[in-house]
Amino acid sequence: MERIFTMPEAMKPEQTLYCPGCGHGIIHRLVAELVDEFGIRDRTIGIAPVGCSVFADKYWNFDVISAAHGRAPAVATGMKRGRPDSFVICYQGDGDLAAIGTAETIHAANRGEHFVTVFVNNAIYGMTGGQMAPTTLVGQRSMTCQLGRDPAIMGYPIRVCELLKDLPGVAFMARGSVDSPKNVLKTKKYLKKAYSNVLEGKGYSFVEIVSTCPTNWGMTPVKALEWLRENMLEHYELGVFRDCDAEA
């Protein structure tokens, strides 16, 4: 019998401890599938950021380093510059990338560092129990905006792709989602482009992935997907924001 579906070699045979309906499992798998497809597992280094995906080392079957909160792009810079033949995946959540690590994110992009950033945007802090993130939508409730996000007091949800896309160091920038099989496949396509860009030395490549956090949103997994489609995709438009090849 022919085996047509299996665990990627770049995933450990573990059951993830993420909550039901969380997008991290899917995204971890996409990251791992591409590591296998490009045949780069032996030189890949993933970054486990502070947040729920601090456990990424338990699931990825390649080298992993745990970075301090928000510092993943700086750690990635040090690794890639120190060992140029490595392939570095900078995996970060919205609090990590767009709040505490904003400076590191902007400057790594601006220097055109040669690593892939996977930015998981679920509009909330997951691990600490559902606080407001820089990407929390206007009106959305969280533990630290219990009356809903009020932009007059708390500012607006940051669109990271739109903020970074014009920096000359950026080679590729896209926003996908994991709310449907179609979007999962499209997101994989974006990631594939990001990987190949970095492997070909074209520069900083960034894929934002709109994802769910049913536990902290207070929804069932199915309801969370509906909420993502109805609310997040309006503010976080999917698509390619920068592609150095298309421009060339």
């Binding site: 030189r43 486990a48 080298d63 992993v64 750690v75 690794m79 590191e104 902007i106």
Partner: protein
């Protein structure tokens, strides 16, 4: 073979790092260490190595964390305010047991303070600075040659023990020029290989995980006990100090770095007028030469801590001698540098005093 040149302390540190095979330098501007960053911006690129002026000190130390994790020699440098920002990253480096060499060219604090020379980061240098149960090896050079030599040794010790090593110097030592012998770096030959733990190496069979997070029950305590064993070994083997005229001394000064240079002159002045003064100069601030100080304390009635801070090192001297003799304090701060005559005045007062009286200059 070795060339003799006139060089600034900050630049001597940079050249020693280049010679010692530092592959990646990450830094952010701050006075009075700017000559070091500037020097590296040229030399590292000349050598085809990595230099980044980072967006912040926080980014710089985390770049070091990444570079150390792939197994290359890496360093950063700053002054007090920037080192404060780097403490989080240093704690991570210590927790993950990575080798790191870093430099603090001390200036006056607290806060933004001033840009004058100081030793007021003694606590920060020696008592951790960042969070958690960890130690950092601290070298306190007192001239340009020592800044060069201990930079080279610092890289070796960082690799040997997989620990952060700090060169604690100050605005005077960093900025002054002195003759320097540009010794060639000599690999000790017995440093442990990094192949078993470095990231991104295709030769490694199993995936490696570098982290400072240990959430399992008892896991972190076990790890910290392991770190402690390493620190005990370092305390046993790596303590360094210089003794000057201790054999017949009635009073012993304890001073490091710039303060030790002044204390040495004061010692000679005191001896010229018949007071038998001696000097113990710690070269490592951690490990501190506590055993030797305890031995000396049994032979003298008085010690005098001379420092460019207000009693920070004095605390360690008192802890070391454990009440065996009186320990007095001559402290200056925020750009104030001890003066020989003021030290000798205080020595006279001490020699004429009785009982338990502790004499300070302020």
């Amino acid at each position: 073979m070795s060339e003799r040149v006139l060089m600034k302390g900050n630049e001597a540190i940079g050249e020693a790092a280049v010679q010692a095979g530092c592959q990646c330098y990450f830094g952010y501007p701050i006075t009075p260490q700017n000559e070091l960053t500037a020097y590296m911006s040229k030399r590292m690129l000349e050598e085809g190595r990595v230099f980044i002026q980072s967006e912040s000190e926080i980014a710089a130390i985390n770049m070091c964390f990444g570079a150390a994790a792939v197994g290359v020699r890496t360093m950063t440098s700053s002054s007090g305010p920037g080192i404060s920002l780097k403490q989080e990253g240093i704690s991570y480096v210590a927790g993950a047991e990575l080798p790191l060499f870093f430099v603090n060219v001390m200036r006056g604090g607290p806060g933004l303070g001033n840009i004058a020379p100081s030793q007021a980061d003694y606590f920060q240098c020696t008592k951790g600075g960042g969070h958690g149960d960890y130690r950092v090896i601290v070298y306190a050079p007192s001239d340009v040659q020592e800044q060069y030599d201990y930079t080279m040794l610092g890289f070796d010790l960082a690799d040997r023990y997989r620990i952060p090593v700090l060169l604690a110097t100050d605005g005077i030592l960093g900025q002054m020029m002195e003759p320097l012998v540009l010794k060639k770096y000599k690999d000790p030959g017995d440093l442990p290989s990094k192949e078993a733990w470095r990231l991104g190496d295709p030769a490694t069979k199993e995936p490696i995980w570098i982290t400072s997070v240990r959430l399992g029950e008892g896991e972190l305590e076990e790890h910290n006990f392991k770190l402690q064993k390493k620190y005990e070994e370092i305390a046993e083997k790596e303590v360094r100090f210089e003794e000057i005229s201790l054999d017949d001394a009635d009073i012993v000064m304890v001073a490091y770095g710039t303060s030790a240079r002044v204390a040495r002159s004061a010692m000679e002045m005191a001896r010229a007028e018949g007071i038998k003064a001696g000097l113990l100069r710690p070269i490592t601030l951690w490990p501190f030469p506590e055993k030797r100080l305890r031995e000396i304390a049994d032979k003298v009635d008085n010690m005098l801590a001379v420092e460019m801070s207000l009693g920070q090192m004095w605390e360690d001297v008192r802890l070391a001698v454990c009440g065996a003799c009186r320990v007095h304090l001559h402290g200056r701060t925020a750009g104030g540098v001890p003066e020989e005559t003021a030290i000798v005045d205080q020595i006279r007062k001490i020699m004429n005093s009785k009982g338990d009286e502790i004499i300070r200059n302020f």
